[in-house]
């Protein structure tokens, strides 16, 4: 399978790289580690190496082009011919995929933090058609901790605004375009009507936002005075120990709006809280993740579709998932590209997998986000346990989320471990 050559992440403040020169030409034989091209950064000119042995093919960008970080600009293939399977259309001097948008430099929603995959635009500081300098503040975006200002990053004119204030844009999406000339037809859109352009499907993380957080952090609109950004409950060591010993659930204090951090006195309150009402589950929602260095399922799926009767990649995924669940039959719903397909999966060979009725209640939902820019999910429970697949560099992250009553803790662990093992090395598990 061809290896992608991508514009690497060059530094905190850089989201495109200018190709200075190609050191190899299309059709050349290359070895892993050979320098393929030079790219200019703030500090110096960097060489980018070939990821594998093979032939350089499908070159997408020429010397002099500015390529967004993460974009595929060439392939290293088994043969010297272009395969045409590079992930995107040729990149010109920057800009989005959408032909109806003006030409110019894309401004993307920056990566704001480990656990954040969308950012809410608080306000735009520039309007359509305004002149901007690279260091001007273009917009403010809200994070858990603070409101951050994001600079324009390039001189020019605001040619397109693709999201409105108060809208949430996914990290990495283009939300504005700055053109070198004053735009004749500036474009204003909102995300609600599909405005923000999806980035090309590449694994690299979006660069961080430039700019300083405001001096006084916004208070989160919750009852607690202090909460940690990642949802962790703050409690003293003694309080935690007592809660553990007495089998008490600190989440109930959170839900009841008790201010954190919790102390021993709060445990006393907790122990006198009424028993949970019927319909509420005693066990908390569960979320587990597995990080795999390689996503073995891609290669496996390719092989299968070429060499067997199994043509539906999603069915294969459903099969792997059902096998991990360990039941005689399971209905697996696979969501990808905003479509959901349900499969009935009996135990045994994958050839026995059939499509299920669209309204059948699935035992397990598989949410495939590997082709999106989303890297981390914390989406809460659905009606069935959900396995979400997200891509990390050349590997895979699998997140299992479910309600406490869907799966016991040990069953959740087993499900994720089994599925992760199958996704990493499908062949081994099928044998």
């Amino acid at each position: 399978m061809p290896h992608e050559v991508i514009m690497p992440a060059l530094g905190m403040a850089q989201d495109t790289g200018k190709i200075v020169s190609w050191l190899k030409s299309a059709g050349d034989a290359v070895k892993a580690g050979d320098a393929l091209f030079e790219v200019e950064t703030d500090k110096a000119t960097m060489e980018v190496e070939s990821p594998a042995d093979g032939y350089l093919t499908d070159v997408q960008a020429d010397a002099g082009a500015d390529v967004p970080v993460g974009n595929v600009i060439a392939l290293v293939s088994d043969t010297a011919e272009d395969s045409g399977s590079a992930a995107q259309a040729p990149v010109d001097a920057g800009g989005s995929d959408d032909a109806s948008l003006p030409d110019g430099k894309a401004v993307i929603m920056p990566a704001l933090g480990m656990a954040q995959d969308t950012g809410v635009i608080v306000a735009w500081h520039k309007g359509l058609g305004d002149a901007v300098a690279a260091g001007d503040i273009l917009f403010e975006v809200e994070t858990d901790k603070a409101t951050m200002e994001v600079e324009a990053g390039t001189d020019g004119f605001v040619a397109a605004l693709l999201a409105e204030a108060d809208e949430a844009a996914p990290v990495g999406d283009t939300i504005a375009i700055i053109s070198p000339e004053k735009p004749a037809n500036p474009v204003q859109r909102s995300i609600a009507d599909g405005g923000a352009a999806k980035p090309a499907a590449t694994p690299d993380p979006a660069p961080k936002a430039k700019g300083e957080p405001k001096s006084s952090p916004k208070k989160a609109p919750k009852a607690q005075a202090f909460t940690s950004a990642d949802g962790r409950i703050l409690a003293s060591p003694k309080a935690r120990r007592l809660a553990l010993e007495q089998g008490l659930d600190l989440n109930r204090l959170v839900e009841a709006g008790h201010p954190q951090p919790f102390h021993v006195a709060d445990i006393e309150v907790l122990s006198t809280m009424p028993a949970q009402t019927a319909g509420q589950t005693a066990a908390p929602p569960r979320r587990l993740t597995a990080d795999l260095p390689t996503d073995g399922s891609c290669a496996f799926t390719e092989w299968a579709t070429e060499n067997t009767d199994l043509q539906d990649a999603n069915a294969i995924l459903a099969g792997l998932a059902a096998a991990s669940l360990g039941r005689d039959t399971a209905i697996i719903a696979v969501e990808s590209f905003e479509q959901s397909r349900a499969y009935t999966v009996p135990a045994g060979p994958f050839s026995a997998i059939t499509k299920a009725e669209d309204d059948s209640a699935p035992d397990l939902i598989l949410r495939d986000l590997r082709l999106s820019r989303v890297s981390t999910v914390d989406l809460g429970e659905e009606d069935a346990p959900v396995l979400t697949l997200t891509r990390t560099n050349s590997g895979l992250t699998i997140t299992l989320e479910c309600a406490g009553h869907h799966l016991a803790a040990s069953a959740a662990v087993t499900l994720l471990s089994e599925f992760a093992g199958r996704m990493e090395q499908p062949l081994r598990h099928l044998l």
């Binding site: 909460t227 003293s236 003694k238 951090p261 102390h263 021993v264």
Partner: protein, 346 residues
């Protein structure tokens, strides 16, 4: 002679005589010098002058200038001499006029005395006592007001004692002179004229035994030297507000009675450590660190350190007095810990 047990605050006799800390030290030295003729005192102005603090008055009259030896102003010299004397069969008590001068004698104290026993594989030892002082708010400015016990506590091979009253001063001094290791005793120079009940009969206070000065159940205040009185006063303030504070005096920081401190931390689940050394990189950090390690799951609040401000001691009274912990400052921190108010951000 009777040995004091850990939890007796004061000897329990009624009408016990009260003497000043200065007198207590004087008595201890006199008693030990009578008991053991190899004990001698050496330092500046120790003989007729009895030191500027007058702690040693009368000793040269009893023991003569051979055993109460005035020196030139040669701190490294007489410290080195004391090390050599201790290594060869006598037991010097070195009088270092101000604790601030400890910088001058560091090589002889920390490179020579502290390491003699170890470097010789246990064959030689340096049984000496370095008697010096600490404590600010005397308007003596930056170079005569420092509390530098943390520097020497850091060095393996030295023992460090910090008497908090006349009673401790006498008992710890006697133990120090009989100890075969180099011992540094820091007396609070502000307390020389403070009286306390001190038994007439001979007594020793063992090293490595903390003393619970006031029992309590809500919060533990660990304090050294004159900070013991500061914390006792804070405890009085807190008692009126319904907060019951326990005050513990470690008495020696090397060896440190961890067991008593940890037990108290587990009992109350809240601790403040108060010491007159600088707040940073000092005794309070060490004790707080040990409590963190050994009582973590019993803590309902972060362990607080209260030391002198990390500034050189200012001369002006308006400034000097705010650089050291006060009863009200201790009480205020105690209130915050009790209320669960986060003193530092999450």
């Amino acid at each position: 002679m009777s040995l004091q047990t850990s939890n007796m605050r004061w000897p329990e006799e009624e009408d016990m005589r009260e003497i000043t800390l200065s007198q207590a030290v004087n008595e201890a030295l006199a008693e030990e010098m009578r008991r053991d003729e190899t004990v001698f005192i050496i330092g500046e102005d120790v003989a007729e002058a009895g030191t500027p603090f007058k702690v040693l008055s009368g000793l040269v009259e009893e023991f003569g200038t051979e055993r109460v030896v005035d020196t030139p102003i040669s701190e490294p010299g007489f410290m080195g001499l004391a090390v050599g004397a201790a290594m060869t069969g006598t037991r010097p008590v070195v009088d270092l006029m101000f604790g601030d001068f400890i910088y001058l004698i560091m090589d002889q104290l920390c490179n020579q005395a502290a390491k003699t026993h170890y470097m010789s594989g246990g064959k030689m030892s340096a049984p000496l006592v370095l008697r010096t002082n600490m404590g600010a708010t005397r308007r003596s400015a930056a170079q005569h007001s420092q509390s530098l016990h943390a520097l020497v506590a850091h060095i393996p091979g030295l023992k460090v004692a910090m008497p908090s009253s006349a009673y401790e001063a006498k008992g710890l001094m006697k133990t120090a002179i009989r100890d075969n290791n180099p011992v540094v005793i820091f007396e609070d120079k502000l307390m020389y004229n403070d009286k306390a009940p001190v038994p007439e009969e001979e007594f020793l206070i063992p090293f490595g035994e903390a003393n619970i000065k006031r029992e309590g159940s809500d919060i533990t205040l660990i304090a050294t030297s004159s900070m013991v009185q500061v914390c006792e006063a804070a405890a009085e303030i807190l008692a009126k507000e319904g907060i019951d504070a326990e005050v513990i005096d470690p008495r020696t920081i090397v060896p440190l009675d961890e067991e008593t401190l940890i037990a108290s931390a587990k009992k109350t689940s809240r601790v403040i450590v108060v010491d007159e050394g600088h707040q940073s990189y000092g005794i309070t950090g060490e004790i707080a660190g040990r409590i963190n390690e050994k009582a973590f799951y019993h803590l309902d609040a972060p362990v607080l350190r209260m030391g002198a401000m990390d500034v050189p001691v200012p001369f002006s009274p308006a400034l000097e007095d705010i650089t050291v912990p006060t009863p009200e400052a201790v009480a205020e921190n105690a209130r915050k810990l009790m209320s669960g108010e986060m003193i530092h951000a999450a």
